[in-house]
Symmetry: D2
Subunit: 442 residues, 4 copies
């Protein structure tokens, strides 16, 4: 398949690096993809992706009003020709942004499908087309996912639905979409459980739903191995919305769930800053937790604002906040099969096609700046040195004894008593360390 | 030891049940301790406790101002005579409330102690006195706990402190306090990790701290078995405050932590409504989660208000909300060794001694009303019937096949395809069920 | 016009009062419309209304998924026949609920309108039909309002839009809808400024927008007088959503705005509990503030849940919370032209037509119970007596002197010094008073 | 009085500007006080102050634990010698930071005072000492304020207390402290109403309390004029904490209050970022609102974190967020008599004396960096140009006609109809503008 559609963004050339002093709003100031940072190309560190849903599917509607965008590739029926135009626009945009990856839901890349059968066959066709575009452009698939939340049948969940007929439809979609992802050489496969949760406990069999969830997630893992898919299976922490409560509340909750169903090491997390803050955590906390527990998968980069209590999915320009997350992430080896997917949307008022570029360019540059800052901090090693010093006691005699296999409450308490131990607080130096972060911001 | 102190509440008699039409503010309208509900005495269902810290220790200070209470049993030095008067007041109050249990931290029941040694020996003495009071009044200990957050040494945590000397002091306190709890026939032992967490990741070795936490918690469990303590070891979910982040964020987080350190079944949770809502959950959610995961321990009953973002520890008068929690709790068998501890404080402006009675009476009656409502709902069984009907498909052929050991993504997807399954949503009837709750409220 | 459409709810009869012991889910347990409470019929106290948008227009879509309801009066084009069926359903439902009032937006009662012209003439026709239904059923209009947020043109606001062409369209809608409301004998006219605010200050001329808002609101008031509309003009506090920030943040903010543009006494507030809590206030606070400042208009009764940070518009079953609001409202004379409009929607999962009845019945009964409780509290007068006693000092010599016209900082400070005044805190008795509320709950 | 006390910070020299490449943690990287920015010296733009309470008074206690700091100038009795040492430390620290201003509460600068009389005379003495230090060091007073929240008598408020005896004490403190501020050449006088609000409406006469508040605030203004104080009277928006609700909720609320009591122009606001975010607003919003309404006074610079729901008063290192606020502030002329007071505290774990320097240095540099960025944005004028263009329609014929004195709903609606106006949305370009902010960050 070749892109024979007239260009959708005719007045925009490929976005290129022009350096910090450029005042071209359609250039990168910081993202120089081939620049080596901590021994690796920037592009290979960040592995950035554009998502289908916000960028090409969304028409600007919100819960209080109709679409404002009038995209040239949309039509009201969302028929096959619209799906084809959308795909053309997607690869033109991605190519002009000069980013390596994209992400999609099954329903994003196909026309409106009247039945599960239609969806299966439409996805088959779309997969072929995507493959052709990939070949033509060199772009790659960061991950695919099945949409188990938009169809009315999923109002009470997909894998956790009270009705097995609904769950069977969900599983069919997952099977098809995981196969498609595999065929396209996808790096990961994601399950976002937006409706896997409950609106009220009064009608919910929590125990049963979680057990079903565990059982079917195990089948996803088995299927992955069966077809030889080498990517990671990811689930995405989010505390709520659209449901009152979502089972994948945060990374720590998911750890417990995976542990319970013996899926640790098989399933990882796709962390999103806006979801992190909605669950009462910082972005860095979620990253640090995933790294510490060996669950790190990929990142849906975006942010909310701190005054509105729903998922606003804005482009994340908070370089300091991203730096704090990268400082947790990079020492562990970085993203492996994961990447930074822009799960971010321009505001409903940003109705021009150019706004799509501005949004992504800002997001790309913020990641690049943060990468440079984090690399600087890691190379100077002050943070690490400070931590080593703070915990040095645990490498000393007392610490080692306390942690030895033969220790007990009594042995430690008796030692404390015998030695009249009377431990004192020493400064945590938080402000000193925070200043170090600010000083690293380029 | 006999209580030779003049009474502190001379004008209040033992609070008794007078029925719903009473307008005596110093009587129970709903709590009739011997009334049989769901086959058990109310007192045995609710197992209510008064806590030492809020009720007898706190002088009404807050972060912006000095104490307002001027309790007759306090003195500025908090010396031994003050500790003795406080204990006399505690047992007089508990007796007059006619509730069966109390709870304490080590530092609550002793005078100000200059050193770990002094604390050990003062606790020894206080334990003897408490035992004497128990014998004299028939009151019992719901749980004891070591305070690992008020002394400056614990600014960076107790069991998760960067300095092993501090942790050794913490362990000594736990050992002593667990022994004391055992000696007093306590029903449980609690660890509240108010400082087990971090203020900034920049100075925190998350991985090490959690590993230490797991190791030392295992020692607590070993010690419990060693001394033959039959009660439960409980940890208490709370997301933050005073720390920016607390490791025991919520019940699901704790599940993962216990699973990781092989402590499931050995450690349970002490759930608090105000902590639940601070972590983004309803009280009922935390109970349901604990029940579902086999972690239910005890309850620190209180509430916050929904406009202020810190732990306000108010007496919980929200009968509907408590009913929703009891509907999750009671079918599993109820509280076992746990109870309802009033971890609630009168407002700083409620500076009269009588206010202590009003606070507790309101809290007791709210629990009793909720118990009656929950019992009514359980006896009618409509909630259960409705749920059974909603999930009936999982007991049918399709459901059973899907969950059978031989199922796979492919087998289910193929069946969905072959049978042209096209599952449809059916109403969750939330409003119908919510009305049922309201109609149960007495 | 006569309702010749087959009934939409054929198996539901008129909902009637059956008393607290009824277990008919399609009956009122507490709402006995003719029962006299505080000297007035329940119906006349509560003046309840069903709203068009949630109950008849919404198809169950949310931001993550398509409609689940499949209402028999909907069609995909939303053409004239759909509008007519919807109106038939609306008056059948209202009649069966046996409530006196309804509310609507202009776009709710008409078919999809391609242009401002079409909307004007469609509204003209719909107004005639509504008038005929009113005559036929005896139902009345609590308020009408123009929808200035759903059409894409209003993405940046209606009366505060950066583009005067958009504002002119908004004003035309308001003029037409206020005229229609007047013609239908509406009791009030509401402006909900869902898009009157901003998404970012970076593109917003705050000063200009607020001045335009003030100027055009003044015109609305002038128009009301010109046409002889006797109802109240109401604006509705809401802090945000869909905008990042809404100008009508809360009642106190609106007071300042009205004061600035000399509109006090001419414009009142329509308070909604879910908006109250989103702005960091209790429902009772907003009512108390409006009463104290002479701004009380009407109430959009609903609630959110306290764990989700957006407007969930649930039926409010929290009898205690409503009681606290009524205790503030009733002593001031109650609702005058206002009423309780159910600005509440059944959950997206509640997809049966019956669920519409369950939702409203629960809401109606909660209001009735709260009315009975509040009446009991007001008749006993304990709350008032307690307050009078608490503030008695301000009726004494010192208080009167301090507030006299001749007092000054110096005169009061000198008196304090001369008399060695050393004021002491006395208990606020919060728990005692809270118990009194709980004891009033039926 | 001369500072004869041994230095408290002997190993720290005066902090000086060393430029962005310095890695001296005890130097400024960005704050070059004499550098000219937008035509004014940095020092004169920012007018920075160190506060007494967090920096010299606080011992590190929090609601869960005792003080951790062990300051060399503290003693347990807080006697006169401690007060004198504290003052010596304060001026040494301020001099070493090389900042021009300080701020204090009356109780901060005196010893513990047993009675109102003692406080009056201790303040008299302290004022003399402060004056001597000012002369000796050249430092100046940004503002003084009376502490009406820490003494138990103020549990239910100062100016809004139910008991006039308490209010008389409050007024005495205000009179004395305003006089002292005047004597010291203070630039402003602040009233922080931390207890002016309520814990429950059930015991609160809202109407009376607000009227008293208005009356006494008027007296403060009269007194200011009487004594010839030229500074501004400021009140400080805060939504809650320690009270459930505080009357000075936010800037817009205060506007209405001042308008009601005819105090506009006489009283201005002291805005704090952490209070802004607690009330559901951005810092920039509160600044923009104050500027737009002519209420801008001064700034208590700090921040919270977005995960904890109480006032954490951290040093604000968020350069982007401060830039957004400065972009609203500077075009209006900046701070006049106001300044940036560091109402920020080092964390309780930051227990070294050096941490006080790190905290302030980070805060100073963040302000300086933000000033440079905001100046750059203002000089380029792109933000302003973009706004002018967006609102240009209001300067055209249609806009002017609509806003003319003779316009009415009918005239505008008729014009819209005649001209078939059908206004369309145009992009708000939010992402473009946000990128512009990020690109300005030096």
């Amino acid at each position: 398949m070749s892109n024979t559609h007239a260009p959708f963004f005719p007045d925009v050339d490929r976005i290129s690096y022009e350096g910090p002093s450029s005042d071209n709003p359609l250039a990168y100031q910081h993202y120089a993809k081939d620049q080596i940072v901590l021994g690796k190309r920037m592009e290979d560190h960040l592995r950035m992706a554009v998502c289908y849903w916000h960028t090409y599917c969304w028409d600007g509607f919100d819960i209080f009003g109709a679409g404002t965008f009038g995209r040239p590739w949309h039509n009201p029926q969302n028929d096959r020709s619209a799906a084809d135009l959308k795909m053309a626009a997607a690869f033109e945009f991605l190519t002009k942004l000069d980013l390596p990856f994209y992400c999609f839901h099954d329903v994003d890349v196909v026309e409106a499908s009247e039945s599960p059968e239609a969806l299966s066959s439409n996805l088959e066709r779309a997969t072929e087309n995507l493959g052709a575009y990939q070949e033509q452009t060199g772009k790659r698939l960061l991950w695919g996912t099945a949409n188990l939340f938009s169809h009315p049948r999923y109002a009470a969940g997909g894998l956790t639905n009270p009705d097995p007929e609904v769950t069977a439809c969900a599983i069919r979609q997952i099977r098809d979409c995981l196969n498609a992802t595999h065929r396209l050489g996808g790096e990961n496969y994601v399950l976002w459980g937006g409706r896997e949760g409950y609106d009220t406990l009064l009608n919910t069999d929590l125990t049963r739903e979680l057990e079903n969830f565990g059982r079917f997630l195990s089948m996803v893992v088995e299927h992955k191995h069966k077809i030889g898919f080498k990517g990671k299976i990811l689930i995405e922490p989010k505390p709520h919305e659209p449901m009152y409560h979502q089972y994948d509340f945060d990374t720590a909750t998911i750890y417990g769930f995976l542990s319970r169903f013996d899926l640790l090491g098989e399933v990882h997390v796709n962390i999103e800053p806006n979801h992190s803050t909605l669950s009462g955590h910082s972005f860095a906390h979620e990253i640090a937790t995933a790294v510490s527990l060996g669950m790190m998968g990929s990142i849906d980069i975006n942010c909310g604002n701190y005054q509105n209590g729903w998922d606003t999915d804005q482009f994340n320009l908070d370089v300091r906040d991203i730096t704090l997350a990268l400082v947790e992430l990079l020492p562990s080896g970085g993203l492996d099969t994961g990447g930074f997917n822009f799960d971010a949307k321009v505001r409903r008022q940003s109705s021009d096609l150019h706004d799509l570029f501005y949004g992504h360019i800002g997001g790309v540059d913020a990641l690049a700046r943060a990468l440079l800052s984090a690399a600087d901090l890691i190379e100077r090693a002050n943070l690490k040195d400070n931590k080593d010093k703070r915990y040095a006691g645990w490498e000393g005699d007392l610490g080692k004894t306390m942690l030895s296999a033969s220790s007990s409450l009594d042995s430690i308490a008796n030692q404390a008593s015998a030695q009249k131990l009377d431990g004192r607080h020493t400064s945590g130096r938080q402000e000193y360390l925070e200043n170090m972060i600010n000083r690293s911001l380029v």
